[in-house]
């Protein structure tokens, strides 16, 4: 808490002080730039290679220089990805959007309500609830997922969309973030004033608190969305049939086909991998502001 507060205080000052040319030698500056450029090249070249690879056909992929384009086969690759096994790739994409979108939306709403309750009310057991939230960060995913598989198969939820959606509704990290955001944005006095005016608690939450928490809520949603989109162990365990798979599980399956049955789907896998990055990249760039504050805030508290 103290770190972010200090950061907020010191940042206007910083902007005035920086840049500070007297303090650094030119040679030192150049050395830093070379280091950063090398790190950037390391970060970007695999992505570049993936883009190039997605435009090549099988022979191009195996026989030409991987870092540069040869004959353009992007359209036929896309056509192949979308029509392979009756367009199963589109189905996986829709599933990924369904689980990440709906699951995170529900999860965010529950998290905001819980965070608000924890931050602005003093009820017995509040400490215990918060301890559960923080304690759950240490629980290995296997400890939850395997018994969940058994419990869900008892009630017939395994291999249905519910198997992914229900676990997404309860996200302790979202609750933790929501509590932190409530503390930072909702003043006690405002709640008092609304109560004196005769507003009910539910109304206060839905028409005042939620509106003031749009930034915090968007961050919580974004992080939950990314997490669900990237999930691997949970869908691998709980979803058995191809129809309910996510993009991740589908690509995993395709990339294993070669060792398993000798069918080489490499160019399909790579084009699919590139496609599966796009929604995530658009989302992250569009919501850059929220995302940055979320990553750093969550980390510093």
């Amino acid at each position: 808490m103290t770190l972010t507060e200090e950061r907020a205080k010191s940042s206007p000052m910083r902007r005035l002080n920086k840049p500070d040319p007297t303090a650094r030698s030119r040679g030192g500056q150049r050395f830093l730039l070379v280091g950063l450029i090398m790190a950037s090249a390391y970060s970007l070249f695999p992505v570049w290679w993936l883009i190039v690879a997605a435009t090549k056909d099988r022979t191009g992929l195996y026989q030409t220089n991987g870092m540069w384009f040869s004959d353009l086969h992007l359209w036929s690759n896309l056509h192949q990805v979308f029509t392979y096994e009756d367009g199963i790739f589109l189905r996986w994409t829709a599933n990924s959007f369904l689980y990440a979108g709906v699951g995170s939306l529900g999860g965010t709403l529950i998290a905001l309500a819980t965070g608000y309750g924890l931050a602005r009310f003093d009820f017995p057991g509040r400490g215990l609830v918060f301890a559960c939230v923080v304690g759950s960060f240490l629980i290995p995913i296997a400890l939850l997922t395997l018994p969940l598989y058994l419990l869900f198969s008892e009630i017939g939820l395994v291999d249905t969309p519910w198997a992914m959606l229900i676990p997404c509704l309860i996200n302790p990290f979202s609750v933790y973030l929501a509590k932190v955001y409530t503390e930072a944005t909702i003043p006690f006095e405002l709640l008092e004033a609304a109560r004196i005016d005769g507003a009910g608690e539910l109304r206060i939450f839905f028409s005042i608190v939620l509106r003031m928490m749009t930034t915090g809520g968007a961050t919580v949603f974004l992080l939950a969305f990314v997490n669900t989109w990237n999930a691997f162990f949970l869908p691998l365990t709980l979803l058995r049939g191809e129809d309910n798979w996510t993009l991740n599980i589908g690509l995993y399956n395709w990339s294993g086909k070669r060792a398993e049955s000798g069918i080489d789907l490499t160019s399909l896998v790579l084009t699919g991998a590139l496609l599966s990055i796009i929604p995530m990249a658009i989302m992250m760039v569009a919501m850059r502001r929220y995302w940055r504050s979320g990553v750093t805030l969550g980390a510093l508290k």
Binding site: R7, L36, A39, G117, P124, P140, L151, T296, L300
Partner: protein
């Protein structure tokens, strides 16, 4: 606070509490319960099996299971190498960014964050293909320098996975450390410069101690993730089953016990054990780093 208001406040947390009971407490309880039983096939093994209470026998078996303990040790050793390397690189990059003008810094920051935007499974797929001797450019690049490396050789598997994890994790860790660096009061640098301190000295004596908290936190998160590593080795195994066996990491063993061997009781036992190991490791790491800051 008025009594009725308290309860209304508590009501906001009820959906979460109910969900937590069903999705966290109940499964954990069920796993612990299962870990105390063993299934015994009745008769000739054809008539199904019954569960029999076995106390802590499963735990004894788990602790003396050389495949499981070996995989824990393997992952811990790997963590001791990969995490410091990744955090050092992230710290160095954060310090570099901090020394640039804010405009240049924000450009580099976006570029360096690109790997973090890529889902872990996709990142593994991309690197697997980069490593691949058939389609990847790295093998032929190595030949140019006279290196005949094979990224899928048994001795190269951990460095290959380590490079993948480092590539994927640098941006995220760098941003956390960088934002902690922004909190250092700039007056301190002026004072130090007036006293004749070099930039390197300022970084070492002011900046690094100041971001210690962020380093401890990123280190802790990395340890928690590393002990549970599954995706990357699973994808490697998918492509080169001959180098990575199915007991490579603790979670892989647990998954196989549950879904290939059908031994849920033992899988539950091992996941409880892994949770305990994770708790102990986090506690030790926390104590080790907290004592020095006091």
């Amino acid at each position: 606070m008025i009594r009725s208001l308290r309860w209304k406040g508590a009501a906001f947390t009820v959906p979460f509490q109910l969900g937590f009971v069903f999705l966290y407490l109940l499964p954990i309880g069920y796993a612990v319960y299962q870990s105390l039983y063993r299934s015994q096939s009745s008769g000739l093994g054809l008539g199904g099996s019954t569960d029999k209470f076995s106390g802590l026998d499963n735990y004894q078996q788990g602790l003396s299971d050389s495949a499981f303990m070996g995989s824990v040790l393997r992952v811990v050793l790997f963590a001791c190498v990969q995490i410091p390397v990744m955090l050092l690189v992230s710290l160095a990059l954060a310090l570099c960014l901090d020394a640039l003008t804010s405009k240049a810094a924000s450009r580099f920051r976006i570029v360096l964050m690109v790997p973090y935007m890529i889902p872990g499974v996709v990142a593994a797929i991309v690197w697997l293909n980069l490593y691949s001797p058939d389609v990847g450019p790295l093998t032929s690049l190595g030949r140019v320098f006279g290196l005949d490396w094979n990224f899928f050789a048994p001795s190269m598997v951990w460095p290959s996975i380590g490079n993948l994890l480092t590539w994927h994790g640098i941006g995220y860790n760098m941003v956390i450390i960088y934002s902690a660096l922004q909190g250092v009061p700039r007056e301190l640098f002026e004072a130090a410069r007036l006293d004749g301190a070099s930039e390197w000295r300022i970084a070492r004596s002011i900046k690094i101690p100041f971001v210690r908290g962020a380093l401890v936190l990123t280190g802790m998160l990395s340890i928690i993730q590393m002990l549970q590593i599954f995706n990357e080795p699973a994808l490697f195994r998918n492509v080169t089953p001959q180098t990575i066996d199915d007991s490579f990491t603790p979670i892989m063993i647990i998954y196989n016990q549950a879904f290939n061997a059908g031994n849920y009781h033992y899988a539950a036992t091992l996941s409880v054990l892994l949770a305990l190991i994770l708790g102990v490791a986090s506690f030790l790491f926390y104590r080790l780093t907290a004592r020095e800051t006091d």
